[in-house]
């Protein structure tokens, strides 16, 4: 009999979920732009069940992770997002030894051993710089959607330099550049480089071991990925499932716990 488990990642701006069959086959995924404190997590569960054709009772175990994990009482267990991103990244990139996760409001760097166990990690300061929030604020000033930043950055030749690390100061700097008639793609490339510089410094503090991969929503932005690869001088592994890495890791943990419970009787 197959074993179905669920992993839910409740972030600050999005909720994500994965249903896994027998610990390795991804049956269903779902992502909604509604994070902690919203109906997002409940919608994720509903949609996952709907798209997988499963009933609630078919799910042997659920693990919840992410910023809003403590607000979700329906799960069997909750685990930190760092552990889940490490687990999910190892599934997507078994060769990965450094995982860089840039989420909606924080950035994290994790070091993994050959078996995918997290051996060290670092989180960013309590600051929006180097996170998805920084990109959102900058995109809003430029009247762009965050999803358009990659395309704009690709059009640029040289990047314009954003010297301020602080989001508030960087916002003023971008406005000032705009009023001086700055080229938008060059400005967007500069914004991506600013995030890469901040997160790259975090990664260098912990020590970078190849291979490097990215997880979290910002990984979907090719502009930031390219800038980070340049900043670190390393190739960056990327999966289209990057934003689901935490939920995937949670689902793998759910499977491990479900099978352990079965064994223990």
């Amino acid at each position: 009999m197959s074993c179905y488990v669920m992993g839910i990642d409740i972030g600050s701006t999005t909720s994500k979920g994965v249903v896994l069959k027998d610990g390795s086959e991804i049956v269903s995924t779902y992502l909604i732009h509604a994070g902690t404190g919203t109906k997002g997590p409940a919608t994720v569960k509903e949609e996952l069940l709907k798209s997988s054709g499963l009933k609630e009772d078919d799910i042997a175990y659920t693990v919840v992770t992410g910023y809003g994990r403590k607000t979700y009482a329906e799960a069997d267990a909750q685990l930190s997002e760092l552990s889940c991103h490490a687990k999910g990244a190892h599934y997507l990139f078994p060769e990965a030894r450094t995982v860089i996760d840039i989420g909606g409001q924080d950035a994290k760097v994790m070091k993994l051993d050959g078996e995918g166990r997290m051996t060290a990690f670092l989180m960013n300061d309590k600051c929006a710089a180097g996170t998805g929030r920084f990109l959102e604020v900058m995109a809003a000033i430029l009247q762009l959607d965050v999803s358009q930043l990659e395309e704009e950055a690709a059009k640029a030749g040289e990047a314009l330099k954003i010297s301020s690390t602080c989001t508030v100061f960087a916002e003023s700097e971008v406005i000032s550049q705009l009023s001086n008639g700055a080229d938008i793609p060059a400005l967007v490339k500069g914004i991506c480089k600013s995030v890469a510089s901040r997160v790259g410094a975090l990664a260098k503090r912990i020590g970078i071991e190849e291979k490097v991969c990215m997880s979290g929503g910002v990984a979907n932005n090719g502009g930031v990925r390219d800038a980070l690869a340049e900043e670190l001088g390393k190739e960056i592994g990327y999966s289209p499932l990057a934003q689901l890495t935490g939920a995937l890791g949670a689902a793998i943990y759910a499977y491990e716990r479900a099978t352990k419970e079965r064994k223990d009787g």
């Binding site: 930190s80 997002e81 760092l82 552990s83 997290m118 051996t119 060290a120």
Partner: protein, 373 residues
């Protein structure tokens, strides 16, 4: 019985203002002793009550007039408490010159809290050579002279030697307590912290009496279920929110290298004929601390050895924000722990910190990392 004794530690740790009132109502004079190593024994020997001044967890408002934004919140909160009248009735504040922030504390205190005299204790950075002994002794003489002026009390060599003995006994009891607590996971990190914090406020003979009772009762108690064992390192780790996170995650502090905790009680005084010289030698003998100059940074190795000796599962660095001496040591500590295969994580804390969400995520991830090892 054990709970009753712990309640006494808690009362002293959490309500030093009541203790201050009690001492004052008993006709005693109080002298505040700032971090990290103040010659409390001198204060004690003069019949004064030394009470620790490590600041408190509060929002900084008034003290911001005297400090830049990027400075240790411990010194800022000491001035804040002083300006808000929390120390009203005490006779003086002694501040040692062991880090740049402490030097600034003394200078600002003179203007911010003019009603309470500031007494500097200037230590030599190179404390081991013979000439350093003279330097330290001159520092003590200044402290004694200022204390006499501020309190009218007289210093006596004979009484100092008695105080040195009382402090040695207290040191030994604190070390025994740490060792015994390591065998009792059921005593929470919060309760452990009350024992240390109350030691900075209570007179040492009172605290020793409580420790003796505590040890007797604890030894009768059956040890609780094993938890993940950690060693803490840093300047200060007494924030209730931080300790709650450790307790919620089932982490037991089995040893510490915290300046406000075990570092205070590591070094005994070899009491000779001259009490002041003996005390100066005690300062020279102190080691393994970020504010005590050591070109070889033996603190790092000592920490790893301690962690191995107590079979710790990991090391938690509680980094006080803007504490340069600790920040300089952290990369060395991290590298040494990595080399020894000891999981280590850093949590930044601040006296005005209210939101511990990030600290909670870091500690939870750290627990999971240790569990998966």
């Amino acid at each position: 019985m054990l709970d009753e004794i712990l309640k006494k530690f808690e009362e002293a740790a959490c309500h030093p203002e009541l203790l201050k009132e009690r001492y004052l109502s008993e006709g005693k004079q109080i002298v505040l002793v700032a971090p990290v190593y103040t010659p409390e024994e001198i204060v004690h020997s003069m019949g004064l009550v030394p009470m620790g001044a490590w600041g408190g967890d509060l929002q900084l408002q008034e003290s911001k007039r005297y400090f830049p934004a990027f400075i240790c919140s411990i010194v800022q909160s000491i001035v804040e408490l002083g300006m808000k009248g929390a120390y009203e009735g005490v006779s003086a504040l002694i501040v040692p010159s062991l880090c740049d922030s402490l030097k600034v504390l003394g200078e600002n205190w003179k203007y911010a809290v003019p009603s309470i005299p500031f007494i500097p204790m200037t230590y030599p950075q190179n404390r081991k050579p013979e000439y350093a002994l003279d330097y330290t002794l001159h520092g003590y003489e200044r402290v004694i002279s200022d204390l006499q002026k501020a309190t009218g009390k007289v210093f006596s060599e004979k009484l100092l030697r008695v105080s040195l003995q009382i402090y040695n006994e207290h040191n030994e009891l604190m070390r025994e307590t740490v060792k015994e607590l390591a065998a009792h996971p059921e005593i929470s990190a919060q309760k452990r912290s009350w024992i240390f914090k109350s030691a900075t406020f209570l007179r040492k003979e009172e605290h020793s009496a409580l420790l003796r009772q505590f040890l007797e009762e604890l030894r009768k108690q059956e040890a609780g279920k094993r938890k993940l064992r950690i060693v803490t390192t840093g300047i200060l780790a007494d924030a209730p929110s931080l300790l709650k996170i450790l307790d919620e995650n089932g982490l037991q502090i089995v040893a510490d290298d915290i300046a406000a905790e075990s570092r205070q009680y590591k070094t005994d005084c070899e009491i000779g004929n001259d009490g002041l010289v003996s005390l100066a030698k005690k300062y020279a003998a102190r080691d393994n601390c970020s504010v005590l100059y050591d070109p070889y940074k033996r603190r790092v190795e000592a920490l790893v050895e301690t962690a191995k000796a107590v079979e710790a599962d990991g090391v938690l660095m509680v980094l006080t924000k803007f504490c340069d001496p600790e920040e300089f040591d952290y990369p060395l500590i991290r590298n040494a722990c990595n080399a020894a295969g000891l999981p280590i994580v850093e949590v930044e804390v601040d006296r005005q910190m209210e939101n511990y969400e990030q600290a909670a995520t870091i500690i939870e991830s750290f627990k999971e990392m240790m569990e998966s090892k």
